[in-house]
């Protein structure tokens, strides 16, 4: 199955305030979209709406393929060793231990597989969140500020993981203030509603 995501005339209202409206784009296999815009303009809300977590006020979202979302919360059990915490999600997604091992390798976390999640530093936790996305083998990656807290080497790992995902026909939407090396990405700048 080829990944596809088509958004038409999307609008989102939160707390009685129109965050954005008239958002339209269509992405196919291997495409990437870089969301930019000032704080509070609704980048995270757009990603959550695409993931199906927020009700859509108007317009439509048509997704083909499984979706994975990486936001600021790692969603990993703090007391479990990293590999087992990732293993819970990999088990749900049907990728199993092989998926976890590949994800740990991709984000240079393999030596930390036995370390409880609560012991990880901010940057390591960020990489663990991204490893969860990697291990899910989802077609559509929604990344909310994936580069936050990452050092230069880890940013390189993230860029390599995104490139590999796109080369395999995956699709990436990232909200970020960093360029993330998304080659040939469509840019979408959200503007504050008047």
């Amino acid at each position: 199955m080829t990944a596809r995501l088509a958004v038409e005339n999307l609008a989102c209202v939160r707390g009685g305030r129109m965050l954005f409206k008239g958002i339209s784009f269509a992405l196919g296999a291997g495409d990437a979209l870089l969301l930019t815009g000032p704080n509070g303009v609704g980048k995270s809300s757009l990603l959550r709406a695409l993931a199906g977590l927020l009700p859509v006020y108007a317009g439509s979202v048509a997704a083909q393929g499984r979706i994975a979302l990486a936001d600021e919360s790692p969603a990993l059990d703090p007391r479990l060793p990293l590999a087992r915490a990732l293993g819970f999600w990999a088990g749900l997604d049907g990728t199993g231990d092989a998926g976890v091992a590949a994800a740990l390798e991709a984000f240079n976390l393999a030596p930390l597989g036995d370390v409880p999640v609560r012991m990880l530093s901010t940057g390591q936790r960020r990489r663990a969140t991204l490893a969860r996305i990697h291990a899910s083998a989802a077609d559509i990656w929604l990344l909310d500020e994936p580069g936050n807290g990452l050092d230069t080497a880890s940013l390189g790992l993230l860029e390599a993981a995104i490139a590999a995902h796109r080369a395999q026909g995956g699709l990436v939407i990232a909200a970020s203030h960093q360029p993330l090396g998304l080659e040939g990405a469509t840019a979408l700048a959200l503007e504050a509603a008047p």
């Binding site: 939160r14 959550r48 993931a51 199906g52 977590l53 927020l54 499984r66 979706i67 994975a68 979302l69 936001d71 600021e72 919360s73 790692p74 969603a75 990993l76 059990d77 703090p78 007391r79 819970f88 999600w89 088990g91 749900l92 997604d93």
Partner: protein, 215 residues
């Protein structure tokens, strides 16, 4: 089904890992130990009132882990990740209710044996109490998860959870304590009916609560 089992085992493992099973049982036994000190060593009085006291203790023991049922998963984004994977909130709630019951229901039924001895209950009363606990604790578990999902987004939700849950548990207490007495058969049926109602409504009410947490 796979998602249901995965969530069930995860929640059960978490509750067992954090002393979840020990805490309600110790609390339950503590009440059973303190009660004779409070009313005096009158065997007849203890035997007459002991069953009802154990029901109140069971209700309060079921209330103890309520702030850990939903709130941590909502904060850490686990519930969002279930949603992204398209797992229905009702399935999540049903798995959480089952895991919560497995975490305290059977343990309370075992703890009721020494507690009954402490309160001088005879064999017939103990049997009625055990049957009542078997019928009533699933309802308490459903009620606990419902209230947990409603209070998860609030600060100091734990205290509010108690205020919300105790009045709603009144039917279970009345029929639970009643099922021990002289006309126990009828009360037991009402107890089972109230419990069944809560178990049937629970997944939907708690599911709606989980959806509301995302706003």
């Amino acid at each position: 089904m796979k998602a249901f089992l995965s969530i069930l085992t995860r929640d059960l493992r978490l509750s067992l890992g954090s002393g979840g099973i020990g805490l309600p049982v110790v609390f339950f036994l503590l009440v059973a130990t303190l009660y004779p000190f409070a009313v005096g060593p009158d065997g007849d009085l203890l035997a007459k009132t002991g069953g009802g006291v154990l029901w109140v203790a069971a209700l309060l023991a079921a209330l103890l882990p309520v702030d850990r049922l939903i709130a941590p998963d909502a904060e850490s984004g686990v519930l969002d990740q279930y949603g992204v994977r398209g797992i229905g909130e009702e399935i999540v709630a049903l798995a959480k209710i089952t895991a919560h019951w497995l975490g305290f229901g059977p343990a309370l039924m075992i703890a009721a044996l020494p507690a009954a001895a402490l309160l001088h209950l005879d064999g017939k009363t103990l049997a009625a109490l055990e049957i009542g606990l078997l019928a009533g604790t699933p309802g308490l578990a459903a009620l606990g998860v419902m209230v947990a999902s409603l209070t998860a987004g609030l600060r100091r939700g734990g205290a509010l959870a108690g205020l919300l849950m105790l009045p709603l548990a009144v039917p279970l207490i009345i029929f639970g304590a009643g099922s021990i007495g002289e006309f126990g058969g009828g009360a037991l049926r009402f107890l089972a009916a109230s419990s069944l109602f809560l178990v049937a409504v629970g997944p939907f009410a708690a599911g709606a609560g989980i959806r509301a947490l995302r706003e």
